[in-house]
Subunit: 642 residues, 2 copies
């Protein structure tokens, strides 16, 4: 087996472009291979562009324009962000694997469109294969589940909630369709009993486990010819009727009204969830944040309390969004405990709902828990191999629980180290995709398509989409398998690097400045803030850290920053669980002040996606370099205040 | 000025990869340029990957794996679709401009993320520049308008309707917020009168012109401090409340209920509109098709009749979607007439609504109407230059009217000849984007950002997105300007080619088969069907054409197809205006049969995006070749029936 310690250095172009020869060789290979493919296609057609054409003055002028403008673009790009460098610790991006760069370029020359097999016979299959691999990694049964790539995490999360909504209201549609056919459809209740759909009240109908709702739908299919059943059911869906008409139908059928369904999200949830609930018509007010603990993980006790209160007010829960790798802190919710709370809520409160894991950032970290044969690794074995007290057994339990979520989103363009755009949506029960399906006349499959996989566009929000993205992810997975030999090793190194940085910050001599750190990160984002004896109010502390951020970001106007970081703002009530211990160490500002209108706490972030930070010198010592740069930035920020 | 006749042959790699040397030179240039950028960044950091590392056995094994798997991918890609060939006449894709391929690759090495300037300082600006160029081409004032790139047309269309919905309900939010502040906000009514918002009934509130609604909102801003007004207004929006709660608030405030708002679309509208209305919670039932005429263009008389009926039932219209370049036929709605109908409806019916043009396919054709200085060209001058009776003055009027639409979507990855993914959303009034804005704490601009352009992710559905796509479109626009010298010439050639094919099919000797053609296309998609004396029912005609399609598509299992086409199915009532003349020529089947459950009409499509089809031999004569191949496919399909 290839030793990943050596292989790591072949996976990337490198901070000094050390592997430039390799990338150039492969790119040229891919280009020439494509060129000769074109020449082999109906060679009898002859030439459309002759050598004489290529000697026309206008041809030459066009080439001159293209070359000149490209040189202009290349010059512009010099002002771009050095994501590839160990000095970049900003957003969730590092450099991309050579495999993904070459895979993208090779397929881009063919420009396949993964909307349908007819427009992408090769890369559509690669996309489904990639989805299978990701599903396997998180513990789904790839045959029963389904997945595909998206343009990014927001679209993937949108699809998750779109499907969750359609599943949540499915029991109503099935009940009304069953009434049209005069048949009785039994369904399993959260507590385990079975009852006919027609006998249930609204609250119970909106509190069926997703699988049970899909099972009821399947039972309905016996009521008539497939297309008649499908058409009848479709007429009773929220998708067809729209929210306004559906609300009226519900009010007419169930005179005892319920509060609007809510969507629970971890307080650390990405801002796009707000976009998603607004766009879907669910409403931002229905997005309810579940508080997090000191590690910025969803607090299972707080979740239970929320559910108790919602049960008391008879408020249905459309979906619960747990986070695996929060954007700001890389916090990994204890999904195992979240699922336990759900199970308890089913039995004790009669509540059931879709559980989604937004693992856009953290999903790939599941590869740490897989061995070469795909079996799950024990925490102790991983820790021994990595030589650090990470991951904990609890972390492994949380990651293992991903297989129990109803849907999971994972962005290959984050910890998959592939170029934008590449998100992924995965759902545990492939039947659910039919609830969002639309088929256009010009893309209807010509032959048998029992899997429905000939035409992805039917089941997804997007239409035309780059097959090149699928090729990029696919080739990267071939070179870096989703286990301890590939991504598992790579991400393990970043976790080690983040721990080195965390320890260095905690122990650093920062002169009169003092670092206050969040706990060690669940993956690889280190969060901290600095204070200084002269900062006597929360506002001054925030100003100091905002100033440091400006010195350590591309906003710095006077010089290139030595290192690049980002910052965020912890606000109440989302961070009620995480901020008190920080304020206590800060010894400045009160909780009330923090919660006030001028409040919030500016926190600095270093995203360690650079696997080379794990190693001590002779590789560039960016841990020591970072600490020094932070100190200099703090001094400058403080002077800037004078 | 470069002669576009010569330049055309330098714009593409070419069907035989005739320009392989050029593409390889530029790709290598871009790659090496990037390599040396990396080396110039903090050279004092030294090397992370040493030459010794590169000689480790594990390194070599990793390179072997990568090379081997890439060769496997390249072998797989040989089975991809030859979009580049004159023999491909299938979906809306041809090959990509060299400029876009190189621009994409060059920027991809930097992997900028256009979600925010901080993650893409260069390509975010390129994206905004590209949006300006497209806005200028269609006749928007680029300063007053706003636009950006998306992953594709579906997302762009989604944003258009998302914004249209928020503008449609804005008057309610402004009215309720004004009441909170105790101020009066006047608004202009469709007929031209001005009235206070508080005095209007629900039907009038939902029938304000988008600009008037935005003006009213602007007036509200005087009511208090900006953030207080913004927060108060936000609390009264549909986005915050969600559809269910909003319906209750409306019912409470306006006891006289209205039917649900509808979305009118041209009957030729893309299937994604169904996805969009379902996802947004508007409901598929609220999507109403406006019949098309024999040219497959929205029928303005039918539109007027629909509006009269909707006014009578007091049904608000949320938006009207007109099509510029329909997916199946490249039909261009007479948007000028549609806008006249809207103006008339405002005065005579008191109706007002957002007009969107789905120009995902046809938008780039507006470049035909622009001269080098950006001025609008007359139809006669264009026809004289092209030497064909296209475009008509009416077509030019329809294209000119794009500037009057409230929003327009245009896909660079269609008639812009750039790689996937690249759609674009444009709106005429940039104020509207604030209605969908969400700001996350970790991406808040650090400095002044008066334009709001530092952080695109605030205003769009997507989040992370490839800056490389912006670079691709930008570089392509630099080489092929959006006027008669560039895209205008290119698309003009495809229109000529489509006319050559249309004429050849009309005049072809097809033996005992007979071709029935739709009128000459508005852009470049030729539609027709074949019949045979032995086809005596509509079912048999459809079977024949479905058989021909199979022979001329990648579904053909026994051999590679000579030419590749696609097919669609014209169904009632969407195609009630277009099918009767076809059935008349067919002399088989009745309108009732066509409308029946086994009905519909299979129509064959050839998309002529290949600009080289315009020229007679000595370039490969794909017009004659196509006709011959069609005849052979028809004979085979007929035998297959026996």
């Amino acid at each position: 087996m290839t030793d990943p310690r050596d292989a790591l250095r072949a996976w990337f172009l490198g901070p000094r472009a050390e592997n430039a020869d390799l990338l150039e060789r492969l790119v040229t290979e891919a280009l020439r291979d494509h060129v000769f493919w074109r020449r082999n296609f109906h060679p009898e057609d002859g030439f459309t562009i002759s050598e004489r054409d290529r000697r026309a003055p206008g041809f030459d002028e066009a080439v001159a324009t293209l070359t000149q403008e490209l040189l202009g673009l290349l010059a512009e790009l010099k002002r771009d962000v050095p994501f590839f460098s160990g000095r970049y610790k900003g957003h969730m991006v590092f450099e991309q694997t050579i495999a993904s760069q070459v895979g993208y370029f090779a397929a881009m020359l063919y420009n396949p469109n993964n909307v349908a097999l007819e427009a992408a016979p090769v890369t559509t299959r690669l996309e489904l294969e990639v989805a299978h691999q990701l599903a396997g990694m998180i513990g789904y049964d790839p045959e029963g589940g389904w997945g595909h790539l998206t343009g990014g995490g927001t679209i993937a999360n949108f699809e998750a909630l779109w499907i969750a909504r359609n599943v949540a209201y499915l029991p109503l549609a099935v009940r009304w369709a069953a009434a049209d056919f005069g048949v009785e459809v039994p369904v399993r209740l959260p507590g385990g009993d079975v009852a006919p759909l027609a006998a249930l009240d609204l609250h119970t109908l909106l509190n069926l486990h997703p699988s049970d709702a899909l099972d009821a739908w399947q039972r309905l299919r016996a009521a008539g010819p497939p297309d008649v059943v499908a058409r009848t059911l479709a007429g009773h869906t929220l998708g067809a009727a729209g929210y306004q008409e559906y609300s009226r139908r519900i009010a007419a059928a169930f005179p005892d009204p319920l509060p609007d369904s809510v969507v629970l999200v971890a307080a650390t949830a990405h801002y796009s969830w707000e976009k998603v609930v607004r766009a879907l018509g669910i409403g931002g007010d229905q997005l309810r944040h579940v508080p997090v603990d000191a590690h910025c993980r969803m607090d299972p006790d707080a979740l239970w309390e929320s559910l108790v209160a919602l049960a008391r007010s008879r408020t249905p829960v459309m979906a619960l969004v747990s986070v695996c790798g929060s954007t700001e802190e890389s916090a990994v919710d204890r999904l195992d405990q979240v699922l336990e709370v759900r199970a308890r809520a089913a039995v004790e409160l009669g509540l059931a709902f879709h559980v989604h894991s937004d693992a856009c950032y953290g999903g790939y970290a599941a590869s740490v828990t897989r061995d070469a044969a795909g079996a799950r690794r024990e925490g102790a074995a991983i820790r021994r191999d990595l030589g650090v007290p990470w991951p904990t057994d609890e972390w492994v339990a949380a990651i293992t629980a991903l297989g129990g979520a109803d849907s999971v989103t994972i962005d290959p363009h984050k910890l998959g180290y592939v170029p934008y755009p590449a998100g992924a949506f995965l759902c545990r029960d492939r039947r659910a995709r039919e609830l969002v399906a639309v088929t256009p006349p010009y893309l209807a499959p010509a032959g048998n398509d029992p899997t429905g996989d000939e035409f992805l566009g039917r089941f997804i929000l997007e239409g035309s989409k780059p097959g090149a993205a699928a090729a990029a992810v696919w080739l990267s997975h071939k070179v870096l398998p989703l286990d301890e030999r590939g991504y598992g090793y790579l991400i393990g190194q970043t976790a080690i690097g983040a721990r080195r940085l965390h320890a260095a910050l905690a122990a650093a001599d920062l002169g009169s400045f003092r670092a206050i750190l969040l706990p060690e990160p669940d993956i690889n984002i280190v969060c901290w803030l600095l204070t200084h004896p002269r900062c006597t109010t929360l506002g001054q502390v925030n100003e100091l850290n905002e100033g440091i951020y400006r010195m350590m970001s591309l906003h710095r106007a006077d010089a290139a920053p030595e290192y690049i970081i980002t910052r965020t703002r912890f606000e109440s009530p989302q961070y009620d669980g995480a901020v008190p211990p920080l304020l206590e160490q800060l010894a400045v500002g009160s909780l009330d002040e923090w919660r006030g209108p001028e409040g919030g706490l500016v926190v600095l972030r270093a995203t360690v996606m650079d696997p080379f930070m794990a190693a001590p010198p002779p590789v560039p010592d960016h841990v020591a370099g970072f600490v020094g740069a932070l100190r200099r930035a703090a001094v400058e920020a403080m002077q800037g205040e004078k």
